[in-house]
């Protein structure tokens, strides 16, 4: 069955609403409008205004209300339009959702799912395009996941809903139109493990989310140059499954991290550090990082493209890493 990433997410939402009467979706324009990225299109008509609940433009209040509703026995799915806007609710996410279990000595867990769009590539400029999921991955008490495939778009939501703790689901805006085959019975997926999306022997490219399709395309191109790239999709940014990517690097001896976030103090820094900690003596070259240029994302296409890692950039970085590595030959 051919579906889009958007449809896979919608099927997951519908499935959750059908399966569990405690589940409801709330956010700005999720209902009558159909979701600002059309993810929830039709669900309002199907499930009604109680369970597909439009909210005012009050990120802090409705994310916090999601926390309260979770404490009150429901299983809320809160949609925040983009990760940029989620900053207005950061207090609730960090100071309440992430801390209540610990501060209450284990009495109050918060089974809440927060979905939001992340990433650039659509010329939306600096207040709609950033990749801040690494900030959330910094916070103990949260789980942060980033579906990059149709299977994960379909399956991560249910797994997230079954988690007793708050889960943040980062959907890359550039993936919504991604199309492909998805088994009609595709179901929940593991959100504990990273996935090796392509096996290879010369280097490991570690990435997640919106960068995965680009990295896969680059790996294909590299194969034509007789460079065999293994691709690891992190899938979950917190907790990080370092066993999978460190294990991969111990086999390939080289690591390239591709992250749409900024380089300084970001996800890529964390991953590079963990590779170094876990596979230092297996490395034939320093860990390389390919990230977004450290500017607020610009509007013009040529500048935005230049800022965000592209397929050619991945190819060039991988090539340089493999050919220039000191341990090579």
């Amino acid at each position: 069955m051919t579906v889009t990433y958007r449809e896979a997410l919608r099927d997951a939402l519908r499935d959750a609403l059908v399966r569990d009467p405690r589940v409801f979706l709330m956010g700005e324009d999720v209902g009558r409008y159909g979701g600002c990225f059309a993810v929830s299109m039709g669900l309002y008509e199907e499930f009604g205004p109680e369970r597909v609940r439009d909210t005012p433009l009050s990120e802090s209040a409705f994310v916090g209300a999601g926390i309260g509703a979770a404490l009150g026995g429901l299983r809320p799915i809160v949609e925040v339009m983009t990760v940029n806007f989620s900053l207005l609710a950061l207090d609730q996410i960090l100071n309440n959702a992430a801390t209540l279990l610990h501060m209450s000595g284990g009495q109050l867990n918060v089974p809440l799912v927060i979905r939001m769009t992340t990433g650039g590539g659509r010329q939306l400029a600096a207040q709609h395009s950033h990749s801040l999921e690494g900030w959330y991955a910094h916070i103990p008490g949260l789980r942060a996941v980033a579906p990059a495939t149709l299977e994960d778009a379909r399956g991560m939501l249910w797994t997230a809903l079954e988690d007793p703790d708050p889960v943040l689901l980062f959907e890359h805006g550039g993936l919504y139109n991604l199309e492909g085959e998805l088994a009609p019975d595709a179901g929940p997926v593991d959100i504990d493990r990273a996935a090796v999306r392509r096996a290879g022997t010369d280097l490991t490219v570690i990435t997640y989310g919106g960068m995965l399709p680009k990295v896969m395309a680059a790996a294909e191109q590299l194969a034509g140059e007789r460079i065999s790239a293994e691709v690891v999709d992190l899938r979950t940014l917190r907790p990080l499954d370092d066993a999978t990517f460190v294990g991969s690097v111990t086999r390939t001896h080289r690591a390239l991290v591709v992250d749409e976030g900024w380089r300084s103090v970001g996800m890529s820094a964390e991953i590079a550090a963990r590779v170094t900690e876990g596979a230092f003596y297996d490395l034939d070259a320093p860990v390389e990082r390919l990230c977004t240029t450290e500017v607020p994302l610009p509007h013009p296409k040529h500048l935005e493209d230049a800022a965000i890692p592209q397929v050619d950039d991945v190819v060039a970085a991988a090539r340089a890493l493999v050919q220039g590595g000191p341990g090579d030959g």
């Binding site: 209040a61 009150g72 309440n96 209540l100 501060m103 209450s104 009495q107």
Partner: protein
């Protein structure tokens, strides 16, 4: 009220003895608010409070022993010692904090009320916050949301005139807080927060209305804290005679005058109440003193739920495991 007063006097003393550490915000002077409001709640109702919440917890039924042990940071505290004075939580009495972020509890209260409404329970969530919180965006977002969705929340604004050192008139263009709530179509009253009977009457009326589907209600409770904002506060922002003036309206004495003049209680009864409060405090202190520290090995517990800690919040609450009232 007496229980709160004596409990907190002991806390202040223990603080100077460094038995209690961290921030300590005393409620002394404001007791009539917590007592008056909470008397009207049922066990299945929910309570959300701020960092000045010892009184609320005590009146809600959290054992004094567990509160005091929490102040000490002991393992048998009501939050396992991890929260301290500002973060009292108690699932069995639906006491949800203990929130140290000004206005941070309001959205949670809205959400709890939403959960009750969506599950068809006639349950009230009482949410306490200071007048300082009225300047936060969350106050306005939550008034709007609660009114828009007609949620069963009782907003209780404890107007003690100061947010730390900032007097209301120095932070708000409109100092009539009931007017602010009314702007969101939330029925609102201003109540003398030094008179427990007045608070109780107003709260009961509001709680009844909320419980019977009347949507959110707002009470501005005019009160005063006799102590500094916290134990660290040198209190340079208000005049001593202002404090003295309010002390003449001590809620304990206001009530006592009524009880005595109406012939409802006598000195002997007051002595018995004092004795009972003293005994409760002594027991709480002894419990906290003897309580164990949580071992360092368990430091990383409760960051994520695990087999030993996962349980539905409702399982231990009066609503019962299925979220239905038992």
């Amino acid at each position: 009220m007496l229980r709160i007063r004596r409990f907190e006097e002991a806390c202040a003393q223990l603080y100077t003895q460094t038995k209690i550490r961290g921030f300590l915000h005393l409620y002394i002077g404001e007791e009539a608010v917590a007592v008056g409001v909470l008397e009207g709640l049922l066990p299945e109702d929910a309570v959300v409070a701020t960092y000045r919440e010892h009184g609320h917890a005590l009146i809600r039924g959290v054992p004094a022993t567990a509160i005091m042990a929490e102040m000490y940071g002991k393992a048998t505290g009501c939050s396992g010692g991890r929260g301290g004075s500002m973060h009292l939580f108690h699932a069995p009495t639906r006491f949800y904090g203990g929130n140290a972020i000004v206005a941070g509890g309001l959205p949670i209260a809205v959400g709890l009320a939403l959960a009750d409404a969506m599950q068809g329970r006639s349950v009230v969530t009482a949410c306490f916050f200071g007048e300082g919180a009225v300047a936060e965006g969350e106050f306005h977002e939550c008034m709007n949301l609660a009114a828009l969705w007609h949620l069963p929340v009782l907003f209780c604004c404890e107007n003690n005139l100061y947010a730390m050192g900032t007097a209301l008139a120095r932070s708000e263009s409109e100092t009539n807080l009931a007017v602010k709530a009314a702007a969101y179509e939330v029925p609102a009253w201003t109540v003398d927060g030094m008179d427990v009977l007045a608070v109780e009457e107003a709260a009961r009326r509001a709680i009844d209305a909320v419980r019977n589907g009347g949507g959110p209600h707002f009470l501005e409770l005019r009160t005063y804290r006799f102590r500094a904002h916290s134990m660290f506060d040198p209190e340079r922002y208000r005049a001593k005679d202002e404090v003295e003036e309010w002390r003449h309206r001590d809620p304990l004495e206001v009530l006592w005058a009524v009880l005595e003049s109406e012939g409802i209680a006598d000195e002997a009864e007051r002595d018995r109440a004092e004795e009972a409060a003293a005994a409760e405090v002594a027991e709480a202190v002894a419990f906290a003193e003897a309580a164990p520290w949580e071992p360092v090995e368990t430091l990383e517990r409760f960051v994520y739920s695990d087999e030993s800690s996962v349980h539905d919040v409702l399982a231990s609450s009066p609503l019962g495991p299925g979220g239905r009232r038992r």
